[in-house]
């Protein structure tokens, strides 16, 4: 006990001020990045739908969609960060919910390249939105890291939910979830168009 107290006192006496990073906003950037994809339900619906659809399609789409999406999304984010305008972003994001939800609801089984192309096109819209909405004062690096991780986690959630298709009733439930996602997307699409 005495030794522990002495140790704590010694640490307190030896305290020095940490420099910290010269670049500010590291923590706020990470948190903002993590929260951005889950802060908007339109993003959440589409990301979860990507995972669900991947699970429905099975290998190799199961892993190719989550590998391809962050890369293409980052390209969209890159365009947003450097100020390249992209028209109809909100419509594109809402449409992604509608179509990806429909793909799950109808258990659409297109060729792999078509699935990848569809997901990639929508990934650009989502990434662009993330890139342009970087908050002032936040670190670009940790913000990027945050939203890539959060997006990946949403895909993983979709894939995990998609595992219910091992059971017959699970397959049906999955299609219902797809339908609900599509309806949610339609709601956001209506909002974006009006």
């Amino acid at each position: 006990m005495i030794l522990r107290t002495l140790f704590i006192l010694a640490l307190a006496a030896n305290s020095s001020v940490a420099w910290g990073h010269s670049e500010g906003g590291q923590a706020s950037g990470l948190i903002a990045g993590l929260l951005h994809p889950i802060g908007g339900m339109d993003h959440v619906l589409a990301m979860v739908a990507v995972g669900l659809w991947g699970a429905q399609l099975g290998n190799p789409a199961l892993w190719m969609l989550p590998v391809a999406f962050p890369l293409v999304m980052a390209f969209g984010g890159f365009l947003g960060l450097i100020g390249v305008p992209l028209p109809g972003i909100e419509i594109g994001i809402a449409l992604s919910g509608v179509l990806l939800g429909l793909a799950v609801a109808t258990k659409l089984q297109p060729p792999l390249w078509v699935a990848l192309l569809l997901v990639a096109v929508f990934a650009i819209f989502h990434g662009h939105a993330h890139g342009t909405e970087l908050p002032e004062g936040a670190s670009g690096l940790t913000y990027s890291l945050g939203f890539v991780i959060a997006t990946g986690m949403l895909h993983a959630s979709g894939i995990s939910i998609g595992l219910v298709q091992r059971w017959q009733q699970g397959k049906l439930a999955l299609r219902w979830i797809g339908g609900l996602i599509s309806l949610g997307g339609a709601y956001f699409l209506f909002g974006a168009l009006s």
Partner: protein
């Protein structure tokens, strides 16, 4: 793209946090607090792990050595030298894509990649740290930390990638995340320049 990159005048910045324990420990802390420097090396170590046990062993020895040589050279030649800020993001993109595609490289090519990336990373850090007093001790500390990482990361990846198929896929997804973050780092550099 080249035109955009060509007009990026920002110097690369290495971050240091004072641990209060001296320059060696400050150097050890460098990688754990400088994500932009760690990211491409993390991708390289992961790639080494995906390429098997022999490649993992190669990473263990070649990467810290190349980094240390680059770091010392950088700190010696550095005064007034500006390292473009896009070096680390470009390396992260390239290596992240290689991890995502599970690139199986021939032994010599992989060794060359480790040497080039390691020395380039060391060089940029060495140049950025050149104005610090005790910069060689800082570089030595960073190289020690890199030795630990270059031993642990490929070993973990080898175990993960060979244990279950989905773990290998998870590692590849991690590669796509690294490439994605690299691309966004690049965009960020363009934005603030």
């Amino acid at each position: 793209m080249l035109v955009v990159l060509g007009v990026l005048p920002l110097p690369s910045a290495a971050h240091l946090v004072s641990t209060g324990l001296g320059p060696i420990y400050d150097g050890i802390g460098h990688f754990f607090l400088s994500l932009e420097d760690l990211l491409p090396l993390l991708a390289l170590m992961t790639l080494g792990g995906l390429n098997g046990v022999a490649a993992g062993r190669r990473i263990m020895f070649v990467l810290p050595s190349a980094w240390l040589i680059g770091g010392i050279l950088g700190s010696l030649i550095a005064v007034g030298t500006i390292v473009p800020a896009y070096v680390a993001p470009l390396m992260a993109i390239m290596l992240g894509v290689m991890v995502a595609t599970d690139a199986q490289l021939p032994e010599r090519v992989l060794t060359g990649v480790i040497g080039i990336v390691g020395s380039a990373s060391g060089l940029t850090t060495g140049i950025a740290l050149a104005t610090q007093t005790n910069n060689l001790q800082l570089i030595l500390g960073s190289a020690i930390a890199l030795c630990v990482l270059a031993t642990a990361v490929p070993a973990l990846v080898i175990v993960a990638a060979t244990s279950r198929p989905w773990m290998r896929i998870a590692v590849r997804v991690l590669g796509s995340w690294i490439a994605g973050v690299g691309l966004l780092m690049l965009g960020w550099q363009v934005r603030i320049s």
